[in-house]
């Protein structure tokens, strides 16, 4: 891991403290107040806030701009960047632009296919994949050069994140892919939402055996369930998501008005289990359009006050 970056998230992780990050989806519009409101809800409860980049291929305020709004409020953003919409020229340009605004964390992703979004007619880009985006940011940071080898006047010193989905197939490839991302330059990993804890533990065991947990900070992803319907939907309709049947039954087994409470309980149990797994250095809470619940979860999990 490079010592060049200077983000707070990096500082917390390198001190060996358990990090807490959350997600903030920018609005489908140009109103900054929406971002600020979400930021207010998260302030004091998390170390950094991931800002999604046109998630599920739906056009939203740009991740860079929303990150800038959060920065102004004193929150530390993790800028998510997907390779679906921008070629290598735009990606490198935006990485430098983002850093110039004070954005110090990046999460490199390929992005959901546009066919899932509201404008499926769009042409996708995918000029480079997430692996090469990680490598590009690392080269810009550590060698101070862009992809052409040109020496940059002031390199962007990003703390580099990548995603991992232990629940996607083929399972045996998932740890190899993690290793490739670490080799490419990932400093931290945020995982897909964890519901199948057995499979997650198996994946972590494999990662430990390969020595990967010594090389990268892994933050386990959680998403509180709101209802049995949501659990079923995530299992059946969301690509690469694995919600085991007993969990769906557990959500369905409580009265409707208790469903939210049960979802939060499950989330807290998951966080407690994550803290006991060797190699897990933090939790990433993705409360989709439900940012107001994050504070309660962090508090109930005993993760406040934040450093």
């Amino acid at each position: 891991m490079s010592m060049n970056a200077q983000s707070r998230l990096q500082e917390i992780l390198s001190k060996g403290e358990f990090a807490v990050t959350a997600e903030c989806g920018p609005p489908r519009g140009a109103t900054p107040e929406v971002v600020r409101k979400k930021g207010e809800l998260l302030k004091g409860y998390v170390d950094a806030v991931n800002v999604t980049d046109n998630q599920t291929a739906i056009v939203r305020m740009s991740s860079i701009a929303a990150c800038a709004h959060l920065l102004q409020m004193g929150l530390e953003p993790v800028m998510q960047m997907v390779t679906r919409d921008r070629n290598r020229i735009a990606l490198q340009s935006d990485i430098m632009g983002a850093y110039s605004l004070g954005i110090k964390n990046i999460l490199c992703l390929s992005g959901d296919h546009q066919s899932f979004g509201s404008q499926p007619d769009a042409l996708n880009v995918f000029d480079i994949d997430s692996m090469n985006l990680i490598r590009t940011v690392q080269t810009m940071r550590d060698q101070g050069k862009d992809m052409s080898g040109f020496e940059l006047n002031g390199p962007p010193r990003m703390f580099i994140g990548a995603a991992a989905n232990p629940f996607a197939d083929p399972f045996e490839y998932r740890v190899i892919r993690l290793a490739k991302k670490i080799d490419a330059g990932a400093d931290f990993i945020q995982t897909q939402c964890i519901y199948n804890m057995d499979r997650f533990k198996e994946w972590m065991k494999m990662a430990r055996e390969e020595g990967l947990t010594e090389k990268v900070h892994i933050l386990g992803g959680v998403t509180p369930l709101k209802s049995a319907g949501m659990a079923k939907f995530m299992n059946n309709k969301v690509a690469g998501m694995d919600v085991p049947e007993p969990l769906i039954k557990r959500m369905a087994g409580v009265p409707k008005e208790k469903a939210i409470e049960e979802g939060i309980n499950i989330c807290l149990e998951t966080i407690a289990q994550l803290r006991d797994i060797e190699g897990i250095h933090g939790v990433h809470i993705m409360a989709i359009e439900w940012e107001e619940i994050v504070g309660q979860i962090v508090e109930s999990a005993g993760l406040t006050p934040r450093p």
């Binding site: 296919h113 066919s115 499926p120 007619d121 042409l123 996708n124």
Partner: protein
Amino acid sequence: MIVAEQKPLSEIKEIIAPYKKILILGCGTCVKTCFAGGEDEVAVLASALRLACKKDGKEIEIEKLTIERQCEDEFIRESAPAVSRSEGVLSLACGAGVQALARRFAKTPVLPGVNTTFIGVMESQGIFTEECSGCGNCRLDIFGGICPVTRCAKKLLNGPCGGSQNGKCEINPDTDCAWQLIIDRLKALGQMDNLRKYIPPKNWRTSLSGGPRKLVREDHII
């Protein structure tokens, strides 16, 4: 036709390096027409490889065969005995041919001997140009039969950019400006009105961008 170009000998040597018995399999359709992988090219490549391997002191057995089409199982089957005698197949067909072979022969590595370049035509003897990108949503009717999606470097649908000069494209003085060609042709056809038409953003769902494509012809399924 699908236009392809044979890979450099040095690259082919590298690709076949792990094998001592190979079959060079030609295709008698598109790649034959563009001089990349027909019977003649199979023979020339076999000689060149034998010579190169001899020079390097490497033992190699090379068998030659050319079938009518490598993208159709009916013809692929003819190559089965020769394939079973080889450790690897160097296919001189387009990427579809290589994959069709791989699909049929589960245990034999199928290696590409050509680079598949584009869907095009032979403009004049030995000169091939790209004409179609298979976007799945053809509007050649309004563009006078000249495709801006393929032949304009920026895929512009509403007229030429500021880089069009003397009928040539800004990226290369040897490349025609597709829009110059479209305009000339629409003039000749008396369809200049088409130039005033506003063309909305293209629906790319039917292109590769929408994911790998599959065409189902119910009326032909047995």
